[in-house]
């Protein structure tokens, strides 16, 4: 029995003794570690930067009416006009189609009410003039296509049916009111009143939609409006007993968002990017003052290539890129209060013909954005977009077949605005692009 007691004592000792928790800093002996793994930081890899031009951005169904024009000091004349179809909820003026009161309605006025969606670009202290034209072509995409693009357009009547010059107040006010030529619109009223238009087809034939264009006389800003904007018909009931002659309204709305699009164009004649090639080619940054350009809406984007990435294969027999950070900087003074930059960049992977194959993502699947670090320092050297391309380069260098991929940088919501930015390349003296690649051999 004594043995058993001793053995029990032993077991208790064994199981109660715990070796130290080995967390925390513990570096004794680290000098002797046999680290065969080489960790290398490569910051000299050549990065080619260029500007490309997407020729067709889908601008329909984006929930924004974008109207205006401004002259960008670097890129040229930007113009956006918006096309859309307007429909009423019913094809009668009264509450029902057999409303006996209809006969007593009289036309008052008609106006387009554009509601600000708070987006603006350019100088909003300057006057903007916009014109409304009636479309002579139905708002219908080409055959076998569901979309309209930034370069799509429809025919419209040369005569403006409404015009307005105003100082945009996209933050201070809610809407802009454009009075429409009553002569024209009274006809619409009469046709509804007289039951000449009773269904959608008849309405479409008569009223195909409108385009709102900025006048070229003024050129200073681009303003965004919501697709809750309406064409509003004001009319009255004449036979009421009361003095308050009933004021009535009828709204024509953008019921189908796919029937609204913005035509956004850039006239770059005489600018540094005058010779921008077609959408499958690129304009090297060396030809444009060591800089590259992004402009939403018009389709300018920055493309980044890593032509000598394969050289890294010769560092070690077995090695991988574990992380990489690309910092690309806006050209100082190109971003101003009138032309502010956005705080993030969207990153796409594309082939040699600028065809996007995917959006770069974070490990959780969310879209990876290049974030602007704008903590100012003495030399403003830290201002730049940080883009994590570790996984992208890892995949690229391990590709055994297929052609190299490149990256394309744009602003998020590229189809909804006209923000632009000028970015420096590797040879740009003041706003140098930097790439740091972390590599380990194993």
């Amino acid at each position: 029995m004594k043995y058993i007691l001793f053995l029990l004592l032993f077991i208790t000792l064994f199981t109660s003794c715990q070796t130290d928790n080995l967390d925390g800093d513990y570096v004794a002996g680290s000098d002797y570690l046999n680290i065969n793994n080489k960790v290398i930081l490569i910051d000299t890899l050549t990065v080619n930067v260029s500007t490309i031009n997407f020729d067709s951005l889908v601008t329909s169904n984006q929930s924004r009416i974008l109207i205006g024009n401004y002259t960008d000091p670097i890129l040229g004349k930007v113009k956006s006009e918006s096309y859309f179809k307007l429909t009423p909820t019913s094809y009668n003026l009264g509450s029902t189609s057999s409303d006996t009161e209809t006969i007593n309605y009289v036309f008052d006025s008609i106006a387009v009410i554009l509601r600000y969606d708070r987006y603006y670009y350019g100088d909003t202290t300057k006057i903007q003039t916009i014109n409304v034209h009636q479309l002579t072509q139905k708002v219908k995409p080409n055959v076998e296509d569901e979309n309209f693009y930034n370069n799509s357009s429809l025919t419209y009547g040369s005569k403006s049916i409404g015009t307005k010059s105003f100082y945009p107040k996209p933050i201070g006010k809610d809407s802009v009111n454009i009075q429409i030529d009553p002569v024209f619109e009274n006809n619409l009223f009469e046709k509804l009143k007289n039951y000449e238009i009773t269904n959608a087809d008849e309405f479409d034939d008569y009223f195909k939609g409108i385009v709102i264009k900025p006048s070229t006389d003024n050129s200073s800003n681009v303003i965004g409006y919501t697709t809750n904007s309406v064409l509003r018909l004001y009319y009255k009931q004449t036979n009421t007993d009361s003095d308050s002659k009933n004021s009535l309204i009828k709204d024509f709305t953008i019921a189908d968002l796919t029937k609204q699009f913005n035509n956004i164009s850039l006239d770059r004649t005489g600018t540094i990017i005058q010779n921008l090639p077609d959408s499958r080619n690129k304009l090297a940054s060396e030809l444009t003052n060591n800089s590259s350009f992004i402009q939403s809406g018009t389709g300018l984007a920055c493309r980044i290539d890593f032509p000598y990435l394969n050289q890294l294969k010769y560092i070690a027999e077995k090695g991988i890129i574990v992380d990489a950070e690309l910092v690309i900087k806006p050209i100082k003074n190109s971003a101003t209060t009138l032309f502010p930059i956005k705080d993030s960049l969207q990153v796409y992977e594309c082939d040699n013909l600028n065809r996007i194959s995917k959006i770069l993502t974070n490990s959780d699947g969310s879209q990876m954005l290049g974030l602007l670090n704008n903590t100012p320092d003495e030399f403003n050297e830290n201002i730049g977009y940080k883009i994590n391309i570790g996984s992208f380069l890892y995949q690229e260098i391990r590709k055994t077949s297929g052609s190299r991929s490149s990256l394309i940088l744009t602003f998020p919501n590229i189809t909804k605005g006209v923000n632009r930015i000028v970015l420096g390349d590797q040879k740009n003296l003041e706003n140098k692009l930097k790439l740091k690649i972390y590599y380990i051999s194993y």
Partner: protein, 411 residues
């Protein structure tokens, strides 16, 4: 009887489980197989690990298989041990302290006849456990650095079968066959910028080695022992897995890919020991061992293998072996051990000097002892980028002599 067998089975299971978690944490474990591990049986740790010349009359002497010829014909020995260690590591710049406990060995030994005996044991040969965390390493040609967390665990164990035979009345010979086996798991995490790369290596070792032993009784008080360990190769195989994770994705670079690893060579070793008894209750032991690591022709990135000399001196005392007073039967031990080490870093040997004190508490009227050893030692030295380890070690060995199930006699 049945209960006891179950009990031993259970206990052995427990021990094997603990075996797998032995931890050394010595920085010197980052080399090769790790730190070599002294696990001696019975009271040997108390007498400075000396005992090549001692017979296995009261416990299993693991130092020399020739001693097994002296196991008493009705004895059955069971030996089990554990160690607890508190170590402080100091370098020129820092000081760190670690505790750890580990299983040391489990062994049985019994006679075959009046002329021979056998033993079987399981013990660690080396421990590769170490841990280094948050170690900042500069990236060359930049002002950035990365962090390394490195951990290694496992080691090589040996399962020994020993046989001792009495050639003449005063001369015994012995042979131990040691089967080495073990896995060393080496895990490194490199935190580079915003990424973590994990490189995991598993090395598997196995090999066989023989130890020849001889003991000669010069007279009733003076014994000489000799041992010779053959050089051997521990064959190694290794697999490696690499994965990396950063903000934008996780990549499994390779999984359990076979990779090259150099085999490990154990050197030719020989030892000579003396034991002298005075007045029947005092005895003095002295061992000298030499390990010819130079001959293994192994190289290491940071250190060199050097021939190793070990000196061990021990003294034991008890008042009376057979006394009605318990206190008279308590054994007292002391010893000293010096070892030049087999590793030289920057031309400085990682040597080890330890002093030990111990008591052997009789368990009953057999030769069973509960040995408790305290030792204090120093390994390495400060300076020249070396690390000095100061350690306090408590060892407990339970050496049981049973006469339970070896009732049968072999002739």
């Amino acid at each position: 009887m049945k209960n006891k067998i179950w009990f031993i089975l259970f206990f052995t299971g427990q021990s094997l489980y603990l075996f797998s978690q032995s931890v050394a944490t010595s920085p010197y474990s980052v080399y090769g197989l790790g730190s070599l591990y002294e696990s001696d049986f019975g009271s040997i740790p108390s007498i400075g690990s000396s005992g090549i010349a001692l017979p296995s009359t009261s416990f299993i002497n693991n130092k020399n298989p020739a001693s097994l010829a002296y196991i008493g014909k009705n004895s059955f020995f069971f030996d089990i041990g554990m160690k607890g260690m508190q170590t402080s590591y100091s370098s020129q710049t820092s000081n760190e302290k670690r505790n750890n406990f580990q299983f040391s060995h489990i062994a049985i030994g019994f006679p075959i006849n009046s002329k021979s005996g056998v033993s079987a044991s399981l013990k660690p040969y080396s421990s590769a456990t170490y841990l280094i965390s948050n170690y900042e390493i500069p990236i060359s040609n930049s002002n950035e650095s990365y962090y390394l967390d490195a951990a290694s665990y496992g080691g090589v164990n040996s399962f020994d079968l020993s046989y001792g035979y009495k050639v003449q009345k005063k001369i015994t010979l012995g042979l131990t066959t040691s089967f080495y086996f073990g896995t060393i798991n080496d895990n490194k995490d490199f935190t580079i910028a915003n990424s973590i790369t994990n490189i995991n290596k598993k090395s598997f070792y196995n090999g066989v080695r023989f130890t020849l032993g001889n003991q000669i009784k010069i007279d009733s008080t003076f014994n000489i022992g000799l041992t010779l360990k053959t050089p051997t190769k521990l064959s190694a195989s290794k697999t490696q897995s690499v994965s990396t994770v950063n903000q934008t994705g996780t990549q499994n670079v390779e999984t359990a890919v076979d990779s090259d690893v150099t085999d490990y060579y154990l050197p030719l070793e020989f030892g000579v020991g003396f034991s002298k008894a005075f007045k029947k209750n005092i005895s003095l032991t002295f061992d000298y061992e030499k390990s010819l690591w130079n001959g293994t022709n192994q190289t290491h990135i940071y250190g060199e293998f050097k021939n190793q000399d070990k000196f061990a001196l021990g003294l034991s005392y008890f008042k009376k072996e057979h006394s009605i007073y318990f206190s008279d039967r308590i054994h007292y031990f002391t010893g000293i051990n010096y070892d030049t080490g087999f590793l030289s870093i920057n031309n400085k040997n990682v040597n080890n000097l330890a002093f030990s004190l111990g008591v052997g508490i009789p368990v009953d009227n057999t030769k069973s002892l509960l040995n408790i050893t305290y030792s204090y030692g120093q390994k390495g030295s400060i300076g020249n980028d070396l690390i000095k380890e100061n350690y306090h070690k408590i060892g407990i060995n339970l050496s049981l002599e049973g006469i339970w199930f070896v009732k049968r006699k072999y002739d």
